[in-house]
Symmetry: C2
Subunit: 271 residues, 2 copies
């Protein structure tokens, strides 16, 4: 046990003081800091979930300033190696969960299959008047009744995603009276006879701010994956629209594509 706690003192590089012009300057401190911990994480020396020592302790241990430590930590966070809980500290990231947004399997089902424990909490549920955004995405008029549901999803107890679900109220009368911590797809099919015919899924890496950051308990500006899903029923009508804000280090998106006739390429080229 050394002065930085649960991290073994296997420092295979040390930083000489004030030799800013020597060889060691070719590799920035924060990169070496990162490499050091990345190696330990890969080797399993630092198990996932392990809390890192306080930033000040790390700074002292490695003879660098706290600013540099934070630069390294934030870079490692961007890589997905570690994550932070707002004002609580830095932790080694658990393995990513695989997630196929095109599959019909539910979140819970998919996580369970991977031997992890899924959890769902309803944050809010209400009927609202369709906003501009909802109008555009649901294909209804501004002001039309819409059910708005917000849920928090966890894996092994860690908050990994918040979602905002927008449903055309007219298609699912009384939806909010059912338990909403289960699969929405299942609910809509069983209670309202709505079959998912097609879904359009868009994803982009971005950063969290405002409500999603608050809900996930992460710092504003934390990298994330934003996923939106538009669901059409058997009549090819939009019935639901989801927005998912994922911790970027929690997820690996896995989709499969099936080959289509080669003719399709020419078809598109001449269109």
């Amino acid at each position: 046990m050394n002065k930085i706690g649960n991290i073994p003192q296997t420092i295979y590089w040390s930083i000489p003081e004030k030799t800013r012009k020597s060889w060691d300057r070719r590799i920035p401190y924060y990169v070496r800091f990162r490499d050091h911990f990345a190696a330990m994480i890969e080797a399993g020396t630092l198990a996932s979930g392990t809390k890192l020592p306080p930033e000040r302790a790390l700074a002292e241990e490695f003879s660098i300033t706290r600013v540099t430590v934070r630069q390294a930590l934030i870079r490692m966070e961007a890589e997905g190696l570690i994550f932070r809980e707002e004002r609580r500290g830095w932790f080694v990231s658990p393995p990513r969960v695989r997630y196929d947004p095109t599959a019909n399997t539910s979140f819970t089902e998919s996580i369970t299959e991977q031997g992890r424990v899924a959890g769902t909490t309803v944050l809010s549920q209400q009927q609202v008047a369709a906003s501009q955004w909802e109008s555009a995405h649901l294909g209804c008029a501004v002001g039309d009744p819409v059910f708005f549901i917000s849920r928090l999803r966890t894996v092994d107890g860690r908050a990994v995603m918040v979602e905002q679900i927008h449903v055309k109220a007219a298609r699912c009368p009384g939806l909010l009276d059912y338990p909403l911590d289960q699969s929405m797809t299942g609910l809509m099919s069983e209670k309202f006879g709505i079959i998912v015919h097609r879904a359009q899924i868009n994803m982009r890496p971005t950063a969290l701010s405002g409500f999603p950051a608050k809900a996930l308990g992460v710092a504003v500006g934390t990298p994330s994956l934003y996923l939106s899903r538009t669901i059409l029923d058997q009549f090819n009508e939009v019935v639901e629209c989801d927005q998912e804000f994922w911790r970027h280090d929690a997820i690996e998106i896995c989709v499969s594509a099936v080959g289509r006739p080669a003719g399709r390429i020419e078809e598109k080229a001449t269109a």
Copy 2:
């Protein structure tokens, strides 16, 4: 024209000096800096591609230190609002290109359809002995001959992606003698009779380092989207494996899902 150049002086908030305990401390400077520029970018006042003033000029203009300016800029980079070219400066990000990794359309084709200009440069092409990674992903023995091709993809002249393509050499004799700046799928189908039967695509947000960062001309640690694609032919054999490193702000992944019989869910649950 003010002292920070091409940015109109529409500063709707100003930072009082040394009033650290007053109301204004509720919102961090770097967040307000971000909000200020985000508003200008959304409003179109700052056109995409515009170069921001030097960091020092921004710091002086907003009466904050350069460290804080950089914190804001890096956060905006994570969001995808702006991007940087290593040691050249900060620029407003162009709109994302849509990309469907499950479609049979080629990169060039897909970009062109969106009214953008696609470019491809072959960075390297060689025959190598299969590494551990290639062995595992291609399903061949370590040391087997593999064609390794590395390409840089641009949109409107901006480098947005580097890819590394690994192909079983035995399946495509003489592949490297063909021009490699065109669609690999087309080449393999026309010259070697290989039809894409299925592809498995995995994606995860991460950060760039080493070769991909160098190739894209971005700083180490820049957020990115990593995409790997495994392609199986009509005999259900792996013939090719791609790794794509995307600038995270350049892309929006768009896939569509088709509804499957509800029975599939029970089927999986009992598996």
